[in-house]
Symmetry: D3
Subunit: 241 residues, 6 copies
């Protein structure tokens, strides 16, 4: 079965990771999943949130946002509307949770890292591109912190790498890494976040149309784990590891 852009069912779009895009941030990456482009910057800050202070542990947070004309029709800015929408909140929380699963907070020590993921252009899969790029920015920020002596050079704050990809059921077939035109047609939409070792961090499957059964769920999980394995390789190349 042919996809609109000629890909196989189990094929990722072209993925590029421009590491070190920003000359301001301690870590950064401009990541593309096809036409989807997300600028990820990681900022190292010397303090942790108040409720964590004095425990000798670090913290990692994330914020996701879309530029108003990253999409096909211009959206109002959330700053102008005076509040952050539900979808934005939800994705920011997902990215933060996912990144934290890859970090040993005790090894990081008492500092925090804020990773900003700003979608410059959107064509489906912005949250999974954001997670995958955010990990690269985070890894570089931790290297910076170790080079600067903010984190002991002997510490190993990164336990495992983190990557994410979307899968969906379209016309009864599971497909990997949905572009926007596919996403709107998908009966089920699932995002999977996995570690470099292939363990699961987050599984979020939603029936947008008809509910799905266990067999469909299994098919989608197989595709997704193959996808995150490939993204893990691309992250390693980008980080020169």
């Amino acid at each position: 079965m042919a996809r609109k852009d000629g890909r196989q069912l189990d094929e990722l779009r072209d993925v590029t990771i421009e590491r070190g895009w920003s000359q301001q941030a301690e870590g950064s990456a401009l990541i593309s999943f096809g036409a989807t482009k997300v600028l990820c910057t990681a900022s190292v800050m010397p303090t942790v949130p108040r409720w964590m202070a004095g425990k000798g542990k670090g913290w990692v947070t994330a914020e996701y946002a879309m530029l108003p004309r990253s999409t096909n029709e211009r959206m109002d800015r959330e700053s102008v509307r005076g509040k952050v929408g539900g979808r934005t909140h939800e994705i920011s929380r997902l990215i933060g949770r996912s990144l934290r699963a890859g970090v040993d907070m005790r090894a990081l020590g008492e500092l925090s890292i804020a990773v900003d993921c700003d979608v410059l252009q959107a064509d489906g899969g912005t949250r999974t591109a954001a997670i995958t790029g955010a990990y690269v920015a985070l890894a570089d920020a931790i290297r910076w912190a170790q080079a600067e002596g903010r984190v002991p050079k002997s510490a190993t704050p990164l336990i495992d790498s983190v990557a994410a990809v979307s899968v969906g059921m379209i016309d009864g077939e599971p497909m990997l890494d949905l572009a926007y035109v596919e996403d709107v047609r998908a009966g089920t939409d699932m995002n999977v976040v996995a570690t470099g070792r292939g363990l699961l961090i987050e599984v979020q499957g939603t029936a947008e149309g008809a509910p799905f059964d266990r067999a469909e769920l299994d098919g989608m999980l197989d595709l997704a784990l193959a996808g995150t394995a490939r993204l893990t390789e691309l992250q390693r190349e980008a980080l020169g590891a």
Copy 2:
């Protein structure tokens, strides 16, 4: 392995559904999962959101909130803080999506139903209790609308029932319907929303501690689907069906 409250690993807490609790709402249920108590009210409104108008289809939304002292420590009211938090938004969206999966919007016709889920007392599993109770309130509101002639008596707006339950991995064991003391210890926390026929509407699994593997995911899904099957029976009893 014994649980703190003496339950088996695959055992729900005591679940009670007090249908018709409110004399104001078109449908309502006060649901308890153990000490967790959620008041669900469904309001039938004659209009749909502007972006849906004129399509001859209905709409179902949900809002979730916690009373400030439903929890062990008092939380600030979101109305006083001037904004709805990320977690609240996320759960409201989840409940709405879940309920919509059980409804044929064309059969409902151009009206909307808002289901409010207010947590009066919280002891873990508030979102899954809310979904399970919200379905009962929704079903009654649809009966009311058919009795009143707002929806044709010949129509069948309810495609399938909807119920939800939490599962988690604790000390390497999957457990069903976590109470708060279990929830905070769980390495993985998963919420599963399923239909009365046993199909999946939503699967949300999150590694709070260590990532999980496919086998653990399968174990949790087995427990969850047995739990939602039992909740479906209790919904039927409550609805006198």
Copy 3:
């Protein structure tokens, strides 16, 4: 003259006080004035507002809110609208002032008690039911604080009990404890807060229709003080005093 629900002009609706409804809060009561139901919870907190710190005195505040479908038509949530409305503010302030009139802040010592009054179902008189139930929750929270040693057992923080009732002029007659259908017909609406000893804490009379004269004011005050005396008895019974 007969009232719609068969009561005498000077008769309260059925009043029930379910003390200790919440297993989370230090004090709580679910109070009903007929179909009006208000859940009152009192939370003891170890600090006072900044402007009071270091004076050796305590503080009592209250917040009032209505569930969106406590009323006959669904109201938007104040959290979703992003601000607390004028009426809500006004009633929260009234409840707080009324409760503070019954408490010796010096005897309480430097801690604060927040009383939340959430209207689960509204049928007129929600603010007066809230004050009457809030006093029971407050009294229990103070007992808890004394039992826990947070307040000296020898102290007497409660000076007097506090109860409230509404009265109104309908068709030239003063009536006690207005239900919603009466409230909307009342030319004058008055709320009276009084102590267990029969002294006045707050008198708020408002001409909704024609202005009222001194004689009418006197007639309403007589009814109200008889009503608060009866509510005081019911509070004592609920508190087992």
Copy 4:
């Protein structure tokens, strides 16, 4: 018993009403109660709130605010804090209700009048000065509307005049029109709004310290009604009636 500024217990402060202060508004008055100065402007607008449209009736609203340095210590602006405080809301609602009691909405016809009361300098009694001045601005705006043909010249929208004054119990004595230094010492603080014919529109008595008894309430009401009668005369003089 002498008051700090030499007044008798039943004596108002110097009251001046500068009618027509604004050259922009349809009606206006700068009113002083001693050092308390409130600028009241009435704006005639051709529409009514949506919920009133098409009923052939008018509407009157009011907004009260204090300049940040009208008080002895500078307060933050409510616009900068991003929300209107509870006290401000409460007073705005009180002024609006009081003015509406003096107006026949059907005679006014389908237009609305917004009365803004901005406290330029505060020394106690700002809400009562605001109501008393607002009536003068409102009366002039209605004259303007009749002169302009917006309201029929044969109509009589003003039923009665409206004035307000504060009273309080200080050291066991009832006193009229409290200045700020008296207000902070008062055990009970009461605001009374009355019509030119001596009927009551609003009675709001609050025990700030010890609760009060019926005899004290009666003493305060006597003083207040004498005060509003004197303010009614001053309003008539200002309006040249």
Copy 5:
């Protein structure tokens, strides 16, 4: 060429400065530029913003606002709309910057002065009237602080006086101090803030219609500096210097 109100092209409107209008503020002035009236109050506060603390330097801020009916048509209050508009922010920032240019922050020492400029009536030039009046209020507040010993009597915190005026191009002619009817017709609108010694603090010229050339800019600057020189004299008279 005659102006609508008979003024010469280079003539200011009648300017009056009522120094010490407020009995609450440490410094105040009610300034009129024709029908434009702005109440300026300066509040001395013992602390500086957190980011300035411990540097031994003071700070001066300003806030500008318009009463809702200062204009020909009533505007919504910014407090009610829940946010400060762009124009208000911009003018508040301009006034603050302008005043700070006249103050030696080191000589002031670690305290701050907040100057509030509230427009009671608007007829063009409100921001320039505000700056000119704010300087008088500020100067008086500094005298007060020196008299009270909050600022050493030997210090000289005021380096130079500050005044402002508008100019514009109307029908090809530069005109000084535009009234509202002129302002709306002006092709270019410029505000100039200058010191008593004739140096420039701020030049803001905006083409509302056709862009302007260097010669027109020069003509407007000549008029403006003559205008601020005259305003400087009036400030000196008001301050009795």
Copy 6:
């Protein structure tokens, strides 16, 4: 006198304009002034603001924002803080006014164009880079609208091009196009917006340190107009005109 980056006093930084960067927007440009990078997108929308409807004229607006880590230290997002800051408002308004000076609204016809300027990396001069890039995006959006028949092909909506540059006084010397390290040292900071024909649209000069005299103002204007002339050439090249 040498500048830190080796430039002459009257020399611009390297300026690049990547036209058509976005595949979503009707017009777009990624502009760099040295390390300052601003993404400008222009969105054509079929309606005008309500207050302009039915006049047969178009409208152009702009919104400016900075990514949280575009700067050397991470800033909080304005969406998260719940409001747009004063500086952001001010610059958005400046960009909008500047662009409108180049457009014949009647020739545009009844549609609006929103230009978003998002600073991806900031090193001084973000508002002037934004205006210069926004013009390119706007010009392309208008070409698109003419190609699509939304604006008549015979119409000439663009009257003149618009470019902007900063100048400042540093150590007594006027300098063109300040980088961030220069900006913080400048005694005076001026932004000049000019047309392709060399006329002035906006002049905003602010004394950050010592006030400036007329001769300094003239020197800065000379530099600025030479700078905008050079930017006009670069815009023409980018637009292939």
